[in-house]
């Protein structure tokens, strides 16, 4: 069995598109593998659980028991990709804990590949958070998300040194459309006959980017 990927979608800032990215990635993994396990650590933001309730469970890392419930699942090499939607309020605690318990080292031993997707922003909190991640995470496993809707083409230089995945901004009316609870990216791809629509191409482009990302990170270990 090839390695099990664990995607950690994070930012120390609220409302930068973490949950939207988590939805998109989860739907891609569901389409590709038929299975995904999502963990929603968002108590104060839009919730992944509301969008994908059948494959998502909530997690709380404010105490040791909650950390055990989450991390003892994430470290399992079972072939099912995991997506963690890490709320801004839990950012510091999560990475403090993973550093302390040696998550990355243990993951290597168990054929689990953590991939941290850092949603960039131009503020000071993000500027402080990124170097902290760089200290802990090898550059090839740390992906900066250049969300055009957030950084408006001004991705901080430091954050662009490693791997960057670019999310182009959707027009406001389309953003409102995809933000509706019953909306599914994959269903849209399946049902929309006109493949030239902006949304169709946007979803396809991002799915291809995810596929390339996963291939580049997992293929050598397979």
């Amino acid at each position: 069995m090839s390695a099990t990927p664990v995607y950690i979608i994070c930012s120390p800032r609220p409302l930068v598109g973490k949950t939207m990215l988590a939805r998109l990635l989860s739907e891609f993994l569901l389409l590709k593998d038929g299975a995904v396990a999502n963990f929603d650590i968002n108590l104060k933001e839009p919730s992944l659980l509301e969008y994908l309730p059948r494959v998502t469970e909530t997690a709380d890392i404010s105490d040791t028991f909650g950390k055990m419930q989450l991390m003892d699942r994430l470290i399992v090499h079972d072939g099912v990709a995991k997506v963690v939607d890490l709320g801004f309020h839990a950012f510091d605690e999560f990475f403090r804990m993973t550093n302390e318990i040696g998550f990355l080292k243990e993951a290597v031993r168990r054929h689990v590949v953590p991939i941290t997707l850092f949603v960039a922003d131009t503020d000071r909190t993000s500027a402080r958070a990124y170097p902290m991640l760089r200290e802990q995470i090898p550059l090839q496993a740390l992906v900066t998300i250049d969300n055009e809707y957030v950084v408006r083409g001004e991705l901080p230089e430091d954050m662009g040194l490693g791997r960057v995945l670019r999310l182009t901004a959707l027009p406001s009316f389309l953003k409102t459309y995809v933000d509706r609870l019953p909306f599914s990216f994959t269903e849209y791809l399946r049902n929309e006959r006109d493949t030239s629509t902006e949304l169709h191409q946007w979803i396809r482009r991002n799915y291809i980017a995810f596929r390339e990302l996963e291939f580049s990170l997992l293929a050598p270990r397979a």
């Binding site: 040791t64 028991f65 055990m68 991390m71 003892d72 804990m97 302390e100 318990i101 998550f103």
Partner: protein, 250 residues
């Protein structure tokens, strides 16, 4: 033949973590390939023996027979390092006994390496023991162990109180044992295995266990911090061992 080394771990106050520190010492020596034997003075139950049964013997230090068992075998015993976990309230009487049998004089003369790990709790009563114990410490290495079993500050916020205790004894060395996550500590307790085995996810007989990865991580991190304190005080030098790459740190 290597000089015998005796390490006494004790405090007159109970519940300050004497056995926990003894366990970290035994793990440290094991990882550094230093043959060690241990005596547990919590007769007749023995907490240390529960975690390290192969190398630990339960003794009653107040009896002459058991004192002989420990000290008359120092030169004959194959492990050159002896760790004695002295139960609560027995530290001062034990040191007095050692003085009476001439053991402290032998340490002073350099025939034996003698070290005392005095475990301090977060109370004035615990700190008051320092002066009492210090009277016996000529010729011994005296370590004042601040065990952060809770969020105590050891009166560091009151410099005069702090200095009056910690700077009173010239040759004492401070040592810090950081706090271990409560659930991790309890899980090791329940498992009744040495910290090293817990970290390695092994049971009593080296069989594969299924401890929480998170709790093992907390223990590994904590144990590394404790060992770095032992490295700082050059504990391997003290017991005459060569420092090298040790197990459990891979």
């Amino acid at each position: 033949m290597a000089k015998p080394v005796v390490i006494v771990v004790g405090a007159d106050k109970g519940g300050v973590g004497k056995t926990t520190v003894s366990r970290t010492l035994l793990d440290y020596f094991s990882a550094n390939n230093v043959p060690t034997r241990a005596f547990d003075t919590e007769s007749p139950r023995g907490t240390l023996k529960r975690f390290h049964p192969e190398i630990t013997e339960i003794v009653d230090m107040t009896t002459t027979a058991d004192q002989m068992k420990i000290f008359d075998t120092l030169n004959a015993a194959s492990p050159s390092v002896t760790v004695i976990d002295v139960r609560a309230g027995l530290l001062s009487p034990a040191l007095a006994s050692l003085r009476d049998i001439g053991f402290l004089d032998a340490a002073k003369a350099g025939q034996i390496t003698f070290a005392v790990f005095h475990i301090l709790g977060p109370s004035i009563a615990s700190l008051d023991e320092i002066a009492e114990t210090a009277n016996f410490m000529q010729g011994a290495k005296y370590f004042l162990v601040k065990n952060f079993i809770n969020d105590t500050q050891f009166f560091q916020w009151d410099q005069s109180t702090y200095n009056s205790y910690f700077h009173r004894i010239k040759d004492a060395t401070d040592l810090v044992i950081p706090k271990l996550n409560e659930m991790a500590y309890e899980q090791v307790e329940v498992s009744s295995v040495p910290f090293l085995k817990f970290v390695a996810n092994k049971g009593r007989d080296d069989e594969a266990a299924n401890y929480s990865f998170v709790l093992r991580g907390y223990v590994r991190h904590w144990l590394a911090n404790v060992w770095s304190e032992f490295d700082r005080i050059k504990l391997t030098d003290l017991v005459g061992a060569k420092p090298g790459v040790r197990g459990g740190e891979k």
